[in-house]
Every structure is written in structure tokens, then in C-alpha cells.
Amino acid sequence: MPDWHERITDDTRPSIRAEHALRYAVAAPLIRASARWCDLGCGSGLAAADALGDAAYEGRALLVDRAAETAERAAAAVPARDAVALAADLADADGVAAVRAALADGDGPLCVTCLETIHQLADFAPLVALLSELAAEPGCSVVLSVPNDAYWSLEREHAATSWGEGAVEELRSLLPADQRVLHQVALAGSALLPAGERAEGSASFALAPGVPSHVVVAFGAGVEQLCAPAPAAAVAQADVEAQRRWERQRESDLLHSAAAIAALERRLAACETAPAAAPAEVSDAPAAGGQA
């Protein structure tokens, strides 16, 4: 099954990549101003790498993901001179303790990003406690984000918990009081350009309060800089062909899976109704001696 929704890969839908990259872009000035950066639930690191651009990050980056190879991929992707990968399960007190220990081994201002991670954890209490603890240290800033279930009509199979206005309120009541809350809203648009030509586009548009797709909460040192004085926006041209391919692939995968399940059910029914035929159906099984 393709891991299409939560991990940002080169195949991720452009609008979702832009939305992930924007969150990192908003945090980028804080990251660059810090001697240490810890990205909790870093995934492949592509969105962070997009946001940080080509200029090298001079500090020390700690990239944390549940899967070791994903954390290593992120450490290779981000433009940091000193990038360290750490495999840790953030839903577990031991995993959070490993992060705490890794961060204790260093000093200087720290920026922690925890974007689109909390909702994937069945138990986020240890992580929330760690974030509050870190924010109390001088020179530390934390930027976290959660999706808004009221926006996403799609079932989010990776989400272990439900997030909406109420859950964000609950979370905020647990965090330090000096918070800056940003609502991420979706943009839709279109552009016209002479056929076959390349161009740099720019647009001015009005933004009003609406149903956010995500909520970003930042707290700690320097977070008042986030989206000040103007809101941040990112627009990416839709690659219609890639998007169509992506959607068709998903639909055909679903069709294929449904057909495969139906075939398996037919085989199962056949086995149940005609037990004598069963040995023929399992003729691929290894013989008693271990040889097929």
C-alpha cells in the first residue's frame, strides 16, 4: 500500500508539498537564528529542505523519526552542516526520553519543530510535557502544527487521534501561555500566461478568517516574529498531469485491492464449500520437509 498521505515524498501532491513547505518556511527564520534545531517527526526532510533553501544551516540539526532510515534520509536531505538522525517513537515515554537526552548533549539557542506529528501519536502526553519543558529553557522556541479534521473530508488513516477546534483548545491549555496561534488556510487560484512561455507570477489577494486546514501553535523565545508583520503564503503551480496520474494510481490501486479481496473471498468460499478441492488450492505450500 503506498504511504501516500502522511510522508512527504517526491510523488506527493504539489498542493500538499506547498502546504508542508510553508509551515517549515515560517519556522525557517527561527531555525536559522538558533544554534540547534530539532525536528520531531521529521519524515523524509523534503519539506524542510525546500523551506531552508540552498544556504547551509550552520547549527546542529537533530532529525527525529520513528523509522531510522527515514530519519537518516532527512539528515541527508536538509542543508545542515551537522545533521544527526535519531530513531525514536514519540508516542512512548522512552522515545521522548531519548530525545531529551540527545538535546541535553548541546547548548545554545534551540528551535524545535513538531509539524504534523502529534495527531499521529496515540499517547502524546510525554511529548507535550517535553515541549513545555524545552520552551521553559532560555532561548528555546517551539513550533508545532496539527491538522483540522473539520477541513479534511478524507479519512486520515494515519491519524491516531481526532483534531479540531476543541482539541486545539485542549492542547493550548497545556502549553505555556506565551503562544502565537496561526491558522493555515487553503488557497485556490489560477493564472494566465502566453502559451509556451515561462514567467514569474505574483498576486495580491485578500485573506479572511475561515476554516483552517491546519493550526500552527508557536511558543517560547522569539515566536512573535512568526508571520509578522504580514501573513505568509505559498503557491505552487498545479501539475495537472502528475495530479491526474496520482489520483488514477490511487483509484486503480483501490480497484485492484477490491478485486484481489473479492478473488480471495471466492477462493475461501470455494475451499469452504468443497473441502476435497482444498489441497489443490494450497499446492504452493512447502512440503513437510520444508521443500516446495
Binding site: A122, D123, F124, A125, V128, A129, S132, E133, D149, A150, T161, S162, G164, G166, A167, E169, E170, L171, S173, L174
Partner: protein, 417 residues
């Protein structure tokens, strides 16, 4: 972490159920050592809540010997026992502003108000309570933890069962003896409907409801039975005047029912008029009946509201998620320094003065009444009054008393002022 939850008893009620759920989650999923401390002498056997087996249940005397990390009062009366326990931090879990359960001028009302002035951290399940506490106790820590829903019991259907031709299925739930539940008003609104409907009333004591007013009167029901009733209903009608987090319509949402409700505290946690339910005005019986008739007639609207109610329910947290927030809240309270002994002192002093004034006013009113009634009381002690009373009750004298009624009214008014 060693946690104590203080309860009056373990009898079946929404509030006690919420506490048991949190305690169970803290014990089973977060590894805390949880004790339910019963502060009163128990007269009846406890209700068999799921998960009680994983918790210690103790009386106050036994619990006094234990050192707790966090002690949590869960009802205003239990706050009076909170500081009898030895704990690092004291918490008041506020499920409603409980003074509203009592009439004005009663001692309980004043007592339930003043417990909110004590130097404790607050945890509450509704935003309106958090907002109120932030206004009256701005310096007190207040953490917001919503109640979860047991989604194995209130197991939402994958698809809405759309009903277009049958009578509108309405469910009214609540204790008819409790004035603020509005059960009789709700039944009255349904009785006045013109469109075909079917009413189910769920109550702890069926004898308190006029059986002729409903198609079905059932109860008391377990949560699982309640879920089946909601699944078989189109609308939850609830006209309560006091609610904390307002759970019943939300349980109905999980089973695919919409709701018609008054704008009671807590409704705006999840109900949006015209999106997943209908919100009617206070005391607007005719308007409520019209809303129900509208849903019975307009099945497209009914289906829209029911579909959105189901969607709202899907985004509501489970008890597991809610328990995680409770664990995080108690952890934060333990980590942070406790409130100072002076926290809330100003509000406490003000509330004491107010209670004193109320008491003085009540005493004055009583003395004044006694003074006015004195001539009448003196008259009642005479032999002539006793003779008069016998004559008053004699059947043959009734026509005479009827003729004399204007005179006796004037005399009574004069005597009582």
C-alpha cells in the same frame, strides 16, 4: 503518579461515569496508580461501571494514610474533603457550575459557589466553564479536557440509515423529577405536533411519565441499550436549562440522530444550528413544536442534519484521546508550582460577604413575615377560632361561606398585611 479522585459515591450518573472513565484510562493506558476515594458513608452497593476492577476504591479514612501526587475533587461537596488528603497538588475537576443546581438563597448554592475560590488548579470539560473560571479566577490554572465518547458502545454506522417515509422518530431523555432537565416541556412539545411522529421517553423511573404521552417509555438503560435507542431515532429532543458539557445529543450524533435543543450551556461545544441540529429559543414551546414538524415534513433537511451530526461525531475524541489529555493535564499541574495560599482569597472574601448579605436578607424577610403574621397567629390560638374552623369545614355551612368570601378575603388581607 499516584492520583486520587474524590467522589460522594459510585452510583449511576453521568458525572460519576466520566470520573470513572478518566480514572480507568489513567490506570490502564498511562500507568498511574489511581484510587477512587468515597467521601461519604455508602448506603447502596456501587453501580458496576466498566473498569472499576482496575482501580482502588477506598473510604476517606483509609485514604488519609496515603501520600498522593495529585488529589482531584469531582463535585463541590467533595472539595470539602480534598484538603484532608495528603497530596502534592490539589485539583478541582469542574463538570458544571454546580451552584445552579440549587434554588437562590439556599445554603448549598452559596457553598457550591465558594469552593471555586479555593487555591486549587482547575480542570474542566467545557469551554463555557473554562471561560467563566478565567473570569472569576484569572490567576488560577485552568486546563480544558473534553469528555470522550466510548466509540465501541456508541459505534457509529458506516452509512446513515436514511428514513423518508416513516413518522419522525423522537427521543426524549432525562429525569422528569429534576426541574432543569425540561422533560415534561419536551414531551408537551411533541404532543402538540401535527406531523406523524413516534416518541420514545428514556427515564430512570417510568412511573413519573404519563404513559399515554409517549409511544414508548423505557429505562433505566445501560449505555449500550441507550445507543440502540439513539440508532433507532431521528431526533434527540432536549430542553434542559442546566448542562455541563451536554453529552446526550452528542451520543445521539454518534448513532446518526440530529437534535433539537435549547441554547443551554455546553450546547456550542459541538452543536451548530442548521448544520447538525436545530437550536430553539428558551421557553418557545410553539417554536420547538414547529421545528419538530419541519423535520418531520422536510426529510431532505433531516437527512442533511443527521449526516452532519454523524460527521461531527466522527471528529469527537475517544476516551483514549481524552484520557491522554487528562494525563497531560495532571502531569502539567504536578510539574508547575502550586497556587499560593492567597490565590482566590479576594474572590473568597467577596463571596463570603455576599453569602452573609443573602443570609441577612433571608433572616430579615423571615422576621418581617413573623411580625406581620403575629395577629393571625394569636387569633388562631383562641377557642373562638377553633369553633369557627369547625363551622368552616361543616358541609351545611358551605353556601354561607361562599356568600361571605369577599368579607373573609378582606379580613385575611388586613391581618396579614
Amino acid at each position: 503518579m499516584k492520583v486520587a479522585f474524590l467522589l460522594n459515591d459510585l452510583q449511576l450518573s453521568g458525572g460519576v461515569g466520566v470520573v470513572v472513565q478518566h480514572a480507568r484510562e489513567l490506570a490502564l493506558r498511562h500507568g498511574h496508580d489511581v484510587t477512587l476515594v468515597l467521601v461519604r458513608e455508602q448506603e447502596a452497593a456501587p453501580w458496576q461501571f466498566d473498569g472499576l476492577a482496575h482501580l482502588h476504591v477506598e473510604g476517606l479514612d483509609d485514604a488519609r494514610a496515603t501520600r498522593f501526587d495529585v488529589a482531584v475533587a469531582t463535585w463541590w461537596e467533595t472539595v470539602y474533603s480534598l484538603f484532608e488528603l495528603d497530596a502534592e497538588r490539589y485539583v478541582h475537576f469542574v463538570q458544571s457550575l454546580e451552584d445552579r443546581f440549587y434554588e437562590r438563597g439556599t445554603a448549598e448554592r452559596a457553598a457550591a459557589e465558594t469552593v471555586l475560590d479555593l487555591p486549587v488548579a482547575f480542570v474542566t470539560e467545557a469551554r463555557w466553564i473554562a471561560d467563566t473560571l478565567a473570569r472569576i479566577r484569572p490567576e488560577a490554572p485552568c486546563l480544558y479536557v473534553r469528555n470522550g465518547i466510548d466509540k465501541t458502545v456508541f459505534d457509529s454506522p458506516a452509512q446513515l440509515d436514511v428514513r423518508v417515509e416513516e413518522p419522525l422518530r423522537i427521543v426524549v431523555e432525562g429525569n422528569p423529577d429534576v426541574w432543569f432537565k425540561g422533560v415534561h416541556e419536551a414531551i408537551g412539545c411533541v404532543a402538540a405536533m401535527r406531523e406523524p411522529h413516534r416518541l420514545t421517553v428514556v427515564t430512570g423511573d417510568a412511573s413519573k411519565v404519563d404513559a399515554a404521552a409517549a409511544d414508548r417509555v423505557v429505562g433505566p438503560l445501560t449505555h449500550r441499550e441507550m445507543a440502540r435507542v439513539y440508532a433507532d431515532s431521528d431526533v434527540v429532543l432536549k430542553l434542559s436549562r442546566v448542562e455541563g458539557m451536554f453529552g446526550p445529543p452528542l451520543e445521539g450524533f454518534h448513532m446518526g440522530a440530529t437534535c433539537v435543543v435549547a441554547p443551554v450551556t455546553g450546547y456550542d461545544e459541538y452543536i451548530e444550528h442548521g448544520w447538525n441540529g436545530l437550536v430553539v429559543d428558551w421557553d418557545d414551546m410553539e417554536g420547538t413544536t414547529r421545528a419538530l414538524d419541519l423535520l418531520a415534513r422536510d426529510r431532505r433537511l433531516l437527512t442533511f442534519l443527521r449526516a452532519n451530526a454523524l460527521e461531527t461525531a466522527r471528529a469527537w475524541p475517544t476516551w483514549e484521546q481524552s484520557g491522554t489529555f487528562m494525563a497531560a493535564a495532571l502531569e502539567r499541574i504536578r510539574r508547575d508550582p502550586p497556587p499560593t495560599a492567597y490565590a482566590g482569597a479576594r474572590q473568597l472574601a467577596a463571596d463570603q460577604l455576599l453569602a452573609l448579605d443573602t443570609q441577612r436578607h433571608t433572616m430579615h424577610a423571615r422576621d418581617e413575615f413573623r411580625r406581620l403574621a403575629k395577629p393571625a397567629l394569636r387569633l388562631k390560638r383562641t377557642g373562638a377560632w377553633r369553633v369557627l374552623r369547625r363551622l368552616r369545614e361543616h358541609p351545611r355551612m358551605q353556601p354561607v361561606w361562599t356568600l361571605l368570601r369577599p368579607l373573609t378575603r378582606r379580613l385575611r388581607a388586613k391581618l396579614t398585611g
